[in-house]
Subunit: 455 residues, 2 copies
């Protein structure tokens, strides 16, 4: 039966791509107030498509953007799989760098270009197409529950509450998420570890209005200079994060893990070239893969202060603010790291300026056991989908819901993603390879069959 479903998917590819394009056309940018109705429309679009496939799909309102929950008719005794995904996307700025408009999905060079193509709409849609094929062939062989949210890109502020309120509907034996990458083109992967996240914005206030830098320069604290001096203290000369207690709870990398990763085909020079860099840099004593997957970081994501228009303005800014995010690894505690960060910044803030903070999200780091039965079944499904054994990797990104699922539903999550490292997620010209989409549809179809065999 799986073979029939797979060949159906192979024959139906063009129509599947056309349906994905309809999904990608909806500008569901969750962080922008102006896109609120687009996000809601995107949720309804998903529910409508799933209802057409004989799933019971509903749009649930929240304090923020809606959540879509969909389920097939559950057969007693069958394993239940909770499939999580998100239909919201990152902002598109700077818009002028896009070769084609972010919400006019365009096929070129064997890929589909659009905001959300890989993160995460394209991967969600691979599952929708697998479901379509199974339903046409008599029904998905496992009990499926889809949980599709619209606030992943803003830190899922309302998901935890929603999951608590709908714990019963979400009960499952295993969770499944396709929002990660293959290791490389032709090397599909299962991700067993994720970094956590603390995202903060720092606000400095100096004079209560902008001042003429000639009349007042030298006499008053300049929040722009001070912000730089403070942010400059966040790393030492070895590239280590300079926040007291930051590394206290970090579990050291195991030798066998470092060994396994050392064997992966990875060309540092090639990645540097792809990114237009002379060299990759970072914390001393660790390989690039280790720094990306398994070491904590602290990056400035944006700074706003003073005059940013064209030409010159001789002004001492009244305010300066910076968005700063930290990636965490087991067993760092996001709340503890946030407190340590704020304490360090306050202590380093000189007299004459006031400092305030705003938090935009906390996510726990985690690792899923490699010897899990479901992990082995998932590996078989990837082999069916892509024709090669998966690589077992960790990822630098954060998927907060995985730890929430563990905490609230008591189940582990399989991260079987189809993206590629060069998909430019969160950047202009985001894309999703068509081969990844095709292999993803096949893998999703095989996952439902294999996971139905769970004991």
């Amino acid at each position: 039966m799986l073979q029939k479903v797979l060949s159906q998917l192979d024959q139906d590819r063009d129509a599947a791509v056309a349906r994905l394009q309809d999904f990608l056309r909806i500008p569901s940018v969750s962080t922008k107030e102006e896109n609120r109705t687009d996000v809601a429309q995107c949720a309804q679009f998903l529910a409508d498509r799933l209802n057409e496939l004989k799933f019971d799909a509903r749009v649930h309102e929240t304090a923020g953007h809606p959540v879509v929950v969909a389920r097939n008719e559950h057969v007693p005794g069958r394993p239940t799989v909770l499939l999580y995904g998100h239909y919201d996307v990152q902002p598109v700025e700077p818009l002028e760098l896009w070769k084609t408009p972010p919400f006019e999905p365009t096929i070129r060079d064997g890929a589909i270009y659009a905001r959300g193509a890989a993160d995460d709409k394209g991967q969600v849609w691979a599952h929708v197409e697998a479901i379509r094929a199974w339903q046409q062939a008599g029904g998905v062989p496992a009990n499926l529950v889809l949980l599709l949210e619209g606030e992943e890109e803003i830190g899922s502020p309302n998901l935890q509450k929603f999951m608590e309120e709908h714990r019963g509907d979400l009960a499952a034996d295993i969770a499944l998420i396709s929002d990660t990458n293959q290791f490389a083109r032709g090397l599909p992967a299962i991700t067993y570890g994720l970094r956590g996240l603390v995202y903060e914005e720092i606000f400095l206030q100096g004079p209560d209005h902008d001042l003429h830098s000639g009349l007042f320069g030298g006499a008053v604290p300049n929040p722009a200079n001070i912000l730089c001096e403070i942010l400059a203290t966040l790393h030492d000369d070895q590239g280590r994060v300079n926040i007291p207690g930051f590394y206290d709870d970090v579990v050291p990398l195991e030798d066998k893990e470092r060994e396994m990763w050392r064997k992966l085909p990875f060309d540092e020079g090639e990645l540097a070239r792809e990114l237009g860099l002379e060299a990759l840099v970072g914390e001393a004593g660790y390989s690039t893969i280790e720094r990306k997957w398994a070491r904590p970081t602290c990056d400035v994501n944006g700074i706003t202060t003073g005059y940013q228009g064209e030409g010159a303005k001789t002004v001492i800014p009244s305010k300066a603010s910076a968005k700063v995010s930290m990636r965490l690894v087991p067993n760092q505690d996001p709340a503890k790291i946030r407190d340590a960060f704020e304490r360090a910044i306050r202590e380093r803030c000189p007299a004459g300026v006031k400092v305030e903070f705003k938090n935009f999200g906390l996510a726990e780091p985690l690792v899923v056991p490699l010897d899990l039965q479901a992990m082995k079944l998932a590996a078989e499904a990837v082999k069916v989908g892509f024709g090669v054994e998966p690589t077992f990797m960790r990822e630098g990104g954060s998927i907060p819901v995985v730890s929430q699922i563990k905490r609230m539903l008591g189940i582990d999550t399989l991260l079987v993603g189809f993206g590629l490292p060069d998909d430019r997620v969160h950047s202009p010209n985001e894309k999703f390879d068509l081969d990844a989409f095709y292999g993803g549809m096949r893998t999703a179809a095989a996952l439902y069959a294999r996971l139905a065999e769970m004991k």
Copy 2:
């Protein structure tokens, strides 16, 4: 005759204010391409008004914004005064902080609120009104040449060339500028020293596109972090500018100068409160007045990098840029300081990022001799205009044209300004006190009479 002119000015105050408001309504923002026609219209407005006063006023096109030159009928043997002013203004952002729109001049609490009210339209207009009164009384007693430019706020890129081409028309015995402040309300001043300026923008380029901070954080150079680390090196822990050679040519303050300034009524705490600050801070070893008037500085005027919208975006920026300006004192050489600055930044820029610079202006610092005859005559005129002896001060701002006038026309410049320290020039809610405007008109009228006595 002067008495008649003065009482005429006193009687005509309301009409004078109304005429100033017409001048202030023109949004002559020289740094914004979108205001180009407004700037041109502002030049024509000035020429029209001066021609109505029987001056020969002409609008001269340049490669940038026009220059207005106006002269009365010169009487042989009479001293000639070159009056310089500028009719362009700073940008108004952030617009939302203005209590009333910047180009709808509004009278409240004895002041006129508008962009350019004090810097420099209001002060230029005090002279226009003085000229009006003298012309009605039979003519300005000195030979006057008005040189009014529209690019002062962007570093006067075309003024030098213009002055070279019109050297003959601009020949004079002394130059006069009203674009500075009184020391305080009721304490009019003559400014005999100005700081110079170097204004640079630094551009850092890291990855050739923005990257996901989860997928790449820890592996690539982050231009936002690096920019902060570089800018943080610009000061040492004593508040001194940390650029090799920066202080080499600085002329130390003389004891008698420090003594004279120590006697000035200046309440540091009061200024701090006015600015909404807990404390004034700056270079160790110097008073606030010394730091503002006679010590060099380095201030960040603006930073642009990464995501600046609402909410969170987990991005590693591809680019980061900062506008940085340095105020100079005698005998620092702007070109030499610019080179030292760029050299220091390049040396401090780590591997993995590219750095470029753009210069937005160089101005020489200067001091005018206190024992100049014209300086004494000007002091008498201020006494006539405001009823009290002027204070002799220096100022932290830069007026590049003063050194150009010295270099090209070989004459000194009298800086007799009417602004007040709390006028918020370059900031939201810029204003010009009506008493300063009235006293300014009287002082201008008296200056023409006194300077006519120059030997």
